[in-house]
């Protein structure tokens, strides 16, 4: 723009130079040059700067102020959105920044944490198996498993235990002494919120089944939970991990209430009897329980004699104190004691998905937003969650797992994946490859590459460490970006940040990182070891893992499902509004300013303004500011329901279709055209024409009034055309501003004001004399029609000749609004969002019978899930 301004000024200065030489020099009889102006060249230099001042309105300063107001307004919309308010926690969505709203409408990649973001991170003890007997499933009288309806699935779910390679968690506790009896009736300390449907387990507990008792005893003993008992009988547990909390709560409900602990003892109320156990040692669990939809945990015990324990204990403390290879030594010691265990049973804890996650992800996928899950979890867990929330689908064409331990393997794996997805991308002739070979060091943008199907990519932390190095990162990126879903598991926070940075650097797309924990802070925002790696937008979820992510984020809310609203509704609106605002703002300033440019050719390039100085002052400030603010604060092209229903509407934002260089040039052209019309129509009107009483109207002041009135009418009509959502406010703003203009016009040109300051308000009586001219009104109507015709024509023809998918959709929406029929897509979405179960396989019914029939808990995997799990 500055260049444009500069060149315009230059042209005019040169024009002035020529004019002064040819005409002004001879015109000095009537208009002498100033004494310090020695030649036309000097005068031209002065004129250059005069025009610089006059034309500087093409670089609208008020733009920045208005942009800030709009951003603020849109942030408030996010804060006020009731549908993003989570009642259970009483937390509204919060926009911590105002500058990123329109980028929310352009997000292409979403990087998501898993635990706490996709899932609730609230563990619920779901079922267990004790001594080969299975609890947690409801049977009817005939022993048939009750086929529960959809919403019961949420709590019951299916039985998809994969207990292969379960590493045992073992915590050592030794029954030391037994003391007083306390009269606690059964279940008095139970957590009222806990719900478990299988009555047989309760019966087993009441019966005093030894195994069951031992099972729950171990659960209530073997943990690192810290209890709080503020009021007698009301226990709350502070658990380091939610899993532990869930297990202890379960034990408590079955009559094994963990009440308090000291550094050496644990007090448990065991079926009404309070016992104190001495804590001998804690073996940290090495966090390696394989999981499926449910997190499972094996419980086992072993009786030790004193001598063995003393022996082991000393070994253990020795190992703990050793300075080198401590980890190895400790695990050797652990191994020693963790053998010959009696298997008591297994527990299953359900890490529930948050409400509406699969639906959200389907919607986001439709909006062509790619979702990458970056998690520290194990691969199996991550993959299952990915299936559960539809990041991976059953119908996918292929799944690639990258787990190489060195550069070569990783490269080979990535390449083979790419070969399958798009064989030609490996050829030398591929444009990206040829570009890479020619200028290897240049920063550049990798174009979108379309694979030949839906694929998923799973990559784990070790491989990622290799893949992120040097030349492999491009391989990784190209492969990953072709996939529909990407899961990166076992990642360190630094790696999360690196992945985000990688995509940001090469894709030049807007990225959004969402997470809840401290380990996500690095990818949300922040400097990690001097390595700046913030995603464009960080979204924090206020979940179980504290406030850290939230405090570092740009937007914060409490449920993952709000993300679709944030992006598809608020982001899209913000983006569309901002684009409309920008193009309109530039248009109106071009139309306003360029009139001066044309006038220069008729005023001897003397930097004479077309308008009254007051009009120039008020134009951006008063006359046109409110309508455009109203437009950009309240306009909605389609309402929120439709934009959620047709996520495809989000696409233009990602490709930045609404405001780019092309659009800017369009505004410029439109502005130039309008200014031409606005100058030459009034000029033709006033040229040599007179009023009905013979007095001429071609004087400068009348001309100004005609031009400025036409300009305002045109600009107001233009905004009325662009407004798609008329509210009372927009009517008031748009037409009110125009009416206000006439009021101000009469006020400024009134007798009183002009007589008080004759040198400031020089346009005395012009309004009265000019506004009653029929010519003037005819010329205004003509200007408006001429300015609007091409715009209307273009808007009409554009969807016909250059249809974008959005136009079709909007067309369809209008169609649907006229004929309110139940929409097919609507029902489809509804179905998707109601499927809240945490299990990808939940729609495969009759699976539970298979498990219950056999004593082993090894379930047969469904065929579609037959990709090799890491054993």
């Amino acid at each position: 723009i500055f260049l444009f301004l500069g060149s315009m000024c230059f042209v005019l200065a040169v024009g002035h130079c020529i004019w002064e030489n040819k005409k002004g020099y001879y015109f000095q009889d009537f208009l002498p040059w100033k004494e310090y102006v020695s030649s036309s060249a000097v005068s031209a230099v002065l004129i250059f700067w005069s025009y610089f001042i006059i034309l500087n309105t093409v670089v609208p300063i008020s733009l920045y102020v208005s942009v800030e107001i709009i951003r603020l307004g849109n942030s408030f919309y996010i804060n006020w959105d009731r549908r993003m308010f989570y009642e259970l926690k009483n937390t509204p969505a919060r926009a911590c920044t105002t500058t990123l709203n329109e980028e929310l409408g352009q997000v292409k990649y979403v990087f998501s944490d898993k635990t706490g973001t996709l899932t609730q991170n609230i563990m619920i003890f779901n079922k267990c198996s004790i001594n080969g007997k299975f609890y947690g499933v409801v049977y009817d009288k005939n022993g048939q498993r009750v086929e529960v309806s959809e919403n019961q699935f949420q709590t019951f779910s299916h039985l998809t235990y994969v207990l292969n390679s379960v590493k045992l968690l073992f915590v050592l506790a030794y029954v030391f002494q037994k003391t007083e009896k306390v009269d606690f009736s059964y279940n008095k300390l139970a957590d009222p919120k806990f719900s478990f449907y299988d009555k047989t387990l309760v019966e087993a507990v009441k019966r005093g089944d030894r195994w069951v008792h031992l099972f729950f005893l171990s659960l209530s003993l073997c943990h690192t939970v810290i209890p709080e008992e503020k009021v007698e009988g009301e226990l709350t547990y502070q658990a380091q991990s939610p899993d532990e909390g869930a297990l202890v709560t379960a034990a408590r409900n079955f009559g094994f209430v963990f009440r308090s602990r000291t550094s050496e003892t644990v007090m448990v109320v065991e079926m009404g009897e309070t016992r104190i156990y001495q804590l001998l040692a804690i073996l940290d669990f090495n966090n390696d329980f394989a999981s499926d939809g449910l997190r499972t945990l094996m419980v086992a015990y072993r009786e030790l004699d004193n001598a063995f324990f003393q022996d082991w204990s000393s070994k253990h403390s020795e190992a703990c104190l050793s300075s080198e290879n401590r980890g190895d030594k400790i695990s050797v010691v652990y191994e020693e004691i963790e053998k010959d265990l009696m298997l008591l049973g297994a527990t299953a804890i359900d890490d529930k998905l948050q409400d509406g996650v699969p639906g959200t992800i389907i919607t986001l996928n439709k909006a062509k937003i790619k979702i990458w899950v970056l998690t520290g979890d194990k691969q199996e867990t991550a993959v299952n969650i990915a299936y559960a929330c539809n990041i991976f689908e059953d119908e996918m064409d292929g799944m690639f797992i990258v787990e190489g331990k060195d550069d070569e393997t990783v490269r080979r794996e990535l390449r083979s994946a790419r070969e399958k997805m798009k064989p030609e991308s490996l050829l030398e002739s591929d444009p990206v490859n040829s570009y890479l070979t020619t200028n290897p060091r240049m920063p550049f943008k990798i174009p979108e590459e379309m694979p030949n199907g839906n694929y998923g990519l799973i990559i784990n932390g070790y491989s990622l460490a290799h893949a992120l190095e040097g030349n492999l990162e491009l391989e990784l990126l190209r492969t990953a970006c072709m996939c529909k879903g990407v899961i990166c598991c076992r990642m360190t926070p630094l790696q999360k940040a690196q992945v985000v940075e990688l995509v940001k650097r090469y894709k030049k797309a807007v990225t959004l990182a969402i997470g809840d924990g401290a380990n996500d802070v690095s990818m949300i925002k922040g400097i990690f070891w001097g390595f700046f790696a913030a995603a464009h937008i960080g979204v924090g979820i206020s979940g179980q893992e504290g406030m850290q992510a939230m405090l570092n984020s740009d937007y914060a809310f409490s449920q993952f499902r709000y993300l679709q609203r944030l992006l598809l509704v608020h982001g899209r609106w913000s983006y569309n509004r901002m684009c409309k605002f920008l193009s309109y703002f530039f248009y109106k300033n071009f139309a306003f300013t360029l009139v001066h440019f044309w006038y220069a050719f008729y005023s001897g390039f003397s930097a004479q303004t077309v308008y009254d100085t007051w009009f120039i002052t008020f134009y951006n400030l008063v006359y046109t500011s409110l309508p455009v603010l109203g437009l950009s604060l309240f306009d909605q092209d389609v309402n929120e329901t439709w934009s959620l229903r047709f996520p495809e509407l989000y696409e233009p934002g990602q490709r930045n279709l609404y405001f780019n260089k092309k659009e800017f040039v369009k505004c410029l052209m439109h502005g130039i055209y309008s200014s031409l019309v606005l100058f030459f129509i009034p000029m033709g009107t006033v040229y040599n024409s007179v009023r009905s009483d013979g007095k001429e109207i071609s004087d400068y002041q009348s001309f100004s009034v005609i031009v400025q009135t036409s300009l305002l009418c045109v600009v107001t009509m233009q905004i009325a055309l662009e407004t798609t959502y008329w509210t009372m406010i927009s009517h008031i703003f748009t037409w009110g501003s125009l009416g206000f203009y006439f009021c101000i016009l009469f006020f400024l040109y009134s007798d009183g004001l002009c007589l008080m300051f004759p040198n400031i308000f020089q346009f005395l009586g012009v309004a009265r004399n000019t506004l009653n001219l029929p010519q003037m009104w005819l010329s205004i109507v003509l200007s408006v029609v001429l300015c609007m015709l091409p715009v209307i024509g273009y808007q009409f023809l554009k969807p016909l000749f250059w249809p974008v998918s959005v136009d079709k959709i909007i067309d369809r929406i209008h169609h649907c609004m006229r004929h309110p029929l139940p929409h097919p897509i609507r029902t489809k979405l509804k179905h998707a969002s109601s499927r809240r179960s945490a299990y990808a396989f939940s729609h495969k019914q009759g699976f539970g019978a298979l498990i219950t029939s056999g004593k082993t808990m090894r379930a047969k995997m469904p065929k579609k899930n037959s990709f090799p799990f890491k054993k």
Binding site: Y26, Y602, D699, L764
Partner: protein
């Protein structure tokens, strides 16, 4: 009628040299048709940049409004026509200084040899607001006009001081209508300004019957140096004002374009409707 006199054959050609003062020249012309109703007489100037920024600014509205302090101390905008010989110029500035000062007289050459002068009315040619509100003489109702302008001097190019523009005190000083008309600067370098009115006497006779006329010009105003042109225009008007075909032509043109466009769009729309119905199904 162009009377600049650049053509050597023109009777006003002699006036181009600055030596001949005062220079009076006569131009003959014939009206083919008689002019009914009121006739307006304009002078037109072209290539005269009344809209030049420095020119437009070069005035002091306070002074013209009759402010006594501004009368003796004109605004700086008037430079270099602010003071002359240590006296403030009234009216100051380049616009006033360059006021049009040719005198035009119209004569009808009748059947007889002695021509009849056409009565020209000089009042009622300025805007009412200008004449009554914007322009005022310095205060003092009973004092003669000359006294009110005491302490000022005439603009450099002027022959007479401002209070001697017209013998009628209602049309002299700053409220002289010729002066007011001139002070309302034109928007474009080619413009015309109302000079005189020719009122119709009665319904029986046309205001200007067809016939031969001659225009007597007291040629004072130099435009030749900057390649300007001077014209005299006689015109009648309708309710819409003077003759300016621009709006009419523009309206007809735009109207037909819109109509064509409308038809084209209708056709396109009709075609598209059919195709879009099929396209809808494929979405």
């Amino acid at each position: 009628i162009d009377y600049t006199g650049t053509d050597p054959a023109s009777p006003c050609n002699k006036c181009l040299s600055p030596n001949v003062t005062p220079c009076i020249c006569t131009i003959n012309f014939t009206l083919e048709q008689s002019f009914e109703g009121n006739v307006f007489m304009y002078y037109g100037l072209s290539n005269f940049y009344q809209n030049h920024r420095r020119y437009v600014k070069s005035r002091d509205d306070s002074q013209l409004n009759g402010d006594p302090s501004a009368l003796l101390n004109p605004s700086k905008e008037c430079e270099p026509y602010r003071r002359n010989e240590d006296k403030p110029i009234a009216p100051c500035g380049a616009i006033a200084n360059s006021m049009f000062n040719d005198t035009l007289d119209l004569f009808l050459v009748g059947n007889e040899s002695d021509p009849t002068p056409i009565p020209l009315k000089k009042k009622g040619i300025a805007w009412w607001t200008d004449k009554n509100v914007k322009f005022r003489n310095p205060p003092g109702a009973d004092i003669p006009l000359e006294e009110r302008f005491k302490g000022t001097t005439k603009p450099v190019n002027w022959v007479k001081p401002v209070y001697m523009l017209d013998p009628d005190e209602d049309n002299s000083g700053f409220i002289n209508e010729d002066f007011i008309v001139w002070m309302r600067t034109a928007a474009l370098p080619t413009f015309r300004k109302l000079y005189r009115l020719i009122e119709r006497k009665n319904d029986l006779h046309p205001t200007l019957p067809a016939g031969r006329y001659y225009l007597n010009i007291t040629y004072n105003y130099p435009v030749h140096s900057f390649d300007g042109r001077k014209r005299m225009i006689l015109s009648t008007i309708s309710w819409m004002g003077g003759k300016n075909p621009f709006l009419g032509i523009a309206y007809i043109a735009i109207g037909s374009i819109s109509f064509l466009l409308g038809v084209v769009l209708l056709v396109i729309n009709h075609k598209y409707r059919n195709s879009s119905n099929t396209a809808d199904i494929t979405i």
